[in-house]
Amino acid sequence: MSEPTDHKNNPLADEIARLVQSLAAAGKVSLLGSPDALLLSIVEAAARIFGAAAASILLVNEAEGVLEFKVAHGASNRDLVGTRIPLNQGIAGYVAMSGQPIAISDVAQDTRFNQDFAKSTGYVPRSILATPLLAGERVLGVMEVLDKINAPSFGMRDMELLSLFARQAAIAIDQAQNIENIGAAMVLSLKRLVAADAEHPSDYLLSALEVKPDAENQNDLLKLVDLLNEFSSMGEAEREAALKILTAFSEYIQHQRQVHMGASWQ
């Protein structure tokens, strides 16, 4: 990659460099490396806490009306990650759409039934406990634990505890998604700002800011970007003010994350 040649004496470029660094820092704090690593650590903990042979998280894909396996841990005869299940089918679909947890066990042997189960869990479990991942009234997904190791079924205590555990997991997932969205929004807005800065064109910064925002969140992001562009088009002072606000917001988010991490996880 060629050396940047045009960002010296460009206060905007300096601001952007600082923002990108702080965004990267915020991402590391909030996402434990990546969203999937966070989810995997959640299902591993769930399997251990509930004495389950397997555990998995499926997240709702609203646009396509499906649940998608994001992470799976433990016994399974195939790699489930990426597998999609219609929202109106099976145990996980029921949990997502009804917002209710369910525990079933002692499944009568039936070929058709087992096939249905294997399709949605990777193998035929003896017992299953599934609970919604709720952020307020919104269902983010479903957490499942399969095959209780030292008992024939998951009991009411397991259901109650998994619901509490899922609440924590949902907060983490929701916040990770929000940070991801905010990060993508900010980078996208900066990209537009840089592109609009005709006096100090910077291809280097533009390529550094190349991002592909999540299609689902595109509309929200674009609204934000348009708003920022509006400021930018008003003139130098306004654009700088907008950047200051973004910087302050970034710092605020980082601060909030630190406060939250301190309160919830230590």
Partner: protein
Amino acid sequence: MSEEEEILPAYSQPFLPTAVRELTSSGPLAGITPEWAWGGSTGQGVRVAVVDTGIEYDHPAVGATVRGGVVIEWDESSTEKLLYEPDDQPTDVVGHGTACAGIIHSLAPEAELYSVRVLGTNMKGRAYQFAAGVDWAVENGMDVVNLSLSTAKKDYFALFHSIADDAYFKNIMLVSAASNLDEPSMPSLYSSVFSVASHAGKDPFTYYYNPTPPVEFGAPGIDLRVAWKDHAYVTSTGNSFAAPHIAGIITLIRAKHPELTPFQIKSVLWACAANVRRVYLKN
């Protein structure tokens, strides 16, 4: 009872053996007995809708009593946002609705069952689809409606309230399971419905009245063997399975005393509750 066994779904705590309150009945109400209320009844002639994931019409647990129903789908393209498709030989996409229907059939073997399938794929439309299902049952001549699902979405408070009141004034019994999670669940919170949570007993005719609502009735809902999709049976737990026990008993009462209104049937249920009659069965 061990500590493990004492954990029940949300709203079920009033029905723990240590929490059930003995109540007193007097006057003519004390003369109402289960024998008078539903003795000899099979539920014949009563139409019962199960608003749920569907009913597997040929599952052995429902006999040959499924008469039809409807599938309600979310339809973004239409102004009504809903699509109604008649369902003459209903299926179940999960098994949950068949479980509920099987419990009702085991109590009221000659009742006619109707499947109202409302489990869709649209997250935003799911509560609306559910409301449409309850409304379909109210508008299509059902006598008893089992609602083993609920919504916690506050925006739907008024809509469900008006549908529940409509049912009440049309002498239609809405039987609503309380949420298994500790959250407000509609329509089970309304006084116009029969709200149900779980007790840990197994006798299908033993239920309790709770004098401190919102949940008024406690029926079996813990570790029950229930029918499931694809002619299967599973063991499951939840207020979902307590509601159809009360729906089944109401169906029996309705068949024997078709003139009774929802508040009268509530009084009959109260008079026959195990903690009012002070008759306790060993489960």
